[in-house]
Symmetry: C2
Subunit: 499 residues, 2 copies
């Protein structure tokens, strides 16, 4: 709605608008009986010198979507939303900007990439950087303790764009998150299942989902009194074993050297030593666990998705708010066989397409009483997926329809505009997707050509004879077959022919 239509304080005309008026369609209709006069006036009034120089571009790192790209985008969204709904998720929406303080302290050094709005009086605002922090704010604000929701929306990062690789400053995230206090690892495993399902459904090639727990582990080590440390590792191991049915004959002992290093964390006061000690623990753990897990990991995962999942200790970093399991999905160029025999080597990746993890502390940061709402979730990064789909569509030379029109209402004769409008109206009222060309007397050939160009499968041709006979000539564009259909049967016939 151009909402201010009747609220504008007074009627004013922009000088450009005025100067263009005489060239315009609306005025030409006014002057239809006096076209010569119009031409004369137009030449008098054209104001070439008044034109301004505009930079015709979208802002850096952003792009428009043309109808073809939108058709691809819609297909991708359908797949993703289909999967989210299959798993019983609700959806929410939040504003594109948040109070600046809502975003502060959530992204570490990446905070410098946040777009701030200009201070025009009132609140200080920033464009959302992801959908996770707004989700946590939403939960705290509405005092929700459990929800399974998805959210598809654009987020904003003043990053260095690399648009050919699908890296934009404005880009979509498709988030799925489960908030609530549940038994361990069940929602986490479902998240992995959904990532797996979506990447498979999208048919964008081989992928690998890397999983790890290191952030949580390291935190535990840093925060726990020494006697607990061995326990932490054993429990963690048992959790992995239980949930992912690792088939190693007997649980190995906790990794060597763990005690040595964790003994340095004798109290919470030692938290500051975390970075250096973390590195050592990480390496030992890596050596120990990557080997064990990669060997023993098989298809027995309860949700049946083990083949594309690996445990990867290099994924030891994350956004500030992650506190538990972290995962990242990457597309790989290797063949599936190569993936099975990785032997510790990294596959050739073409980039990350999904990421997520557990963030149990984030909602509490917003709650005035610090109530904890454990959360786990992920984002699908679809810009890169769009790029891949577009490249595939370009390569296959497949015609992508950008409209869904079933039938063009056409005529071979003149003066039948009103008849065409009437027939189109009948079809629209019956729920048929129909178009007519916006010409008083279009040529039949042009009307057929319009159908070819736009993939419209049927033409409903009306002429004086057809009006007299109360029929419509229905033409099948692909076969050029033409059949007279009684006007009363037309809707049923079109529905039958375009399922």
């Amino acid at each position: 709605m151009r909402r201010n239509l009747s609220l504008a304080p007074r009627f004013r005309l922009h000088p450009f608008v005025s100067s263009f008026l005489l060239q315009s369609d609306s005025l030409s209709l006014v002057y239809q009986q006096d076209e010569e006069k119009l031409a004369e006036l137009t030449s008098q009034l054209t104001t070439e010198d008044e034109k301004q120089k505009f930079v015709l571009k979208t802002p850096k790192g952003t792009r428009d979507y043309n109808p073809r790209q939108m058709a691809i985008r819609e297909k991708v969204f359908d797949t993703i939303v289909g999967s989210f709904k299959r798993h019983g998720a609700e959806t929410i929406d939040t504003p594109v900007f948040e109070l600046k303080e809502t975003l502060m302290g959530k992204y570490g050094e990446d905070s410098k990439l946040i777009y701030d709005l200009k201070d025009q009086g009132g609140e200080l605002l920033s464009l959302r950087y992801d959908l996770t922090v707004p989700f946590a704010r939403y939960l705290a604000m509405n005092k929700l303790t459990n929800i399974k929701r998805f959210h598809i929306a654009k987020v904003y990062r003043r990053d260095n764009p690399a648009m050919t690789r699908g890296r934009y400053r404005e880009f979509y995230q498709c988030d799925f998150d489960v908030a609530g206090q549940y038994d361990p690892m069940i929602p986490d495993a479902e998240c992995l299942t959904i990532i797996h399902e979506i990447l498979k459904d999208l048919q964008i090639g081989d992928f690998l989902i890397k999983v790890m727990w290191l952030a949580s582990l390291t935190c535990s080590l840093a925060l726990c009194p020494p006697p607990s440390v061995a326990l932490v590792l054993v429990c963690l191991w048992q959790t992995i074993k239980f949930k992912f049915s690792v088939t190693h004959p007997s649980p190995p002992p906790p990794p060597p050297h763990t005690h040595t290093h964790t003994h340095t964390h004798t109290s919470v006061a030692l938290k500051t030593q975390l970075p250096s000690s973390e590195k050592i623990v990480c390496n030992e753990w890596q050596l120990w666990s990557v080997r064990r897990l990669k060997i023993s990991f098989d298809r027995r995962l309860a949700f049946g998705i083990s083949s594309e999942i690996s445990f990867d200790m290099s994924l030891a970093r994350g956004l500030d708010y992650y506190t538990g399991v972290i995962y990242e999905a990457i597309l790989v160029q290797n063949s599936p066989e190569a993936l099975q025999n990785l032997q510790g080597e990294e596959p050739v990746t073409v980039g990350s397409v999904a990421g997520g993890g557990r963030y149990d502390g984030l909602v509490g940061m917003f709650d005035p009483k610090g109530r904890v709402v454990p959360c786990v979730g992920f984002s699908i990064g679809i810009e890169r997926i769009f790029s891949i789909m577009e490249q595939k569509a370009d390569a296959s030379n497949a015609k992508i329809r950008t409209t869904e029109t079933q039938v063009l209402v056409a005529s071979a004769q003149k003066k039948l505009l009103e008849e065409r409008m009437k027939l189109a109206s009948e079809l629209w009222n019956a729920g048929i997707k129909a178009e007519l060309m916006y010409k008083k007397n279009p040529k039949l050939l042009n009307q057929f050509q319009y159908c070819e160009e736009n993939g419209i499968p049927l033409v409903a041709i009306i002429g004086e004879q057809e009006i007299k006979d109360e029929v419509i000539k229905l033409r099948y564009v692909a076969t050029r077959e033409e059949v007279d259909i009684p006007r009363g049967n037309l809707v049923a016939e079109i529905k039958k022919r375009t399922v």
Copy 2:
């Protein structure tokens, strides 16, 4: 995608995250064998004093959509998009912000309502104020001369919000526009048809679409040499008559006094006198035409939508870029009978829900060569429609489902989590929308209650006996009927029961 997952320069933990870790789910799983110790640690480590005070709100004039509101919103969008697609429209998308200069000079005094982004180096950006200017920029940038497109997206205005009346600073517009040089009034009339169709399909009560040409008329008067003025009015009148089949026995003469006033516009140089003279012309024209048109306006409109359309001379103002026909749709509280007998009185309106018009000069403002691309279109303002739909849903007490889950995978017995996960997996792979509760051993009653609360129609119950017999007990929540279904037939049975 939390894109920077593996790009964060180093691993750091926010102090809040650390302090909450011990209360969290991910850690509780680690400690599952040592819960007493966890409780002790938690009490030691809670850091009440570290908590910050956050203002828990969305920015002024904005709101979140909860799942129920999203379900209503989706229904409204489906109706609107359905209509747009029925009329053969493609869709595009543009960035949420534009270069500041793209928006400059398009909105007159309303420009002060534009949200600017903070200058953080680089380009100066503003949030889009509507979808029309970005559309014109898109056309000019891509040198497109004709397209029929829709665009549904949020726009931003630093206006005085009145949120109870559906007036926000962030709000959706659903735009439909036709660009291209076509024969007069055909796309314009289709726009009216679509507005009419959508407002009818939405079932939000009586409405009235006000139509007028005054902006164009006034401009003409201001720009034309005196001899043309009478011609303008006659042609305009004939256009109205032709397109909307007004049945007045004979066209009345041009309105009285028109000559008097327009004679004051003897040259283009007199443009500055427009505001005052416009007012007079407007009043005369109003007296003359409203009476005539309202009496004579009947159902003969070619697209068959005359009953809710009126000609209204009070709609004499518009955004700067309008150049021709302008229309605005309002919801009215009067009964349809009252509408028929208006006799010049205004109906009680509850507000504008759609508006639009012809803007033939806008694209040329962006084109370096000033090429003119005539455009006509409209916006549906759906926030007010959402409010009405929400109020209706509240009043009717109708249960609105926020998920589409067909079946809950449940168990009455303990230790069947993995069996539930396996069954859920089977159903997901078969395209069934299924959920399971995230508890190791949920109570059967809780599982049934979950179905009642969420409107899930079926429960697939698995137990040791069922596993042995290779059946699933399928329960119909509404009737409480339970039937044993062979596992191989389950998917078909669920599909049959949930069409």
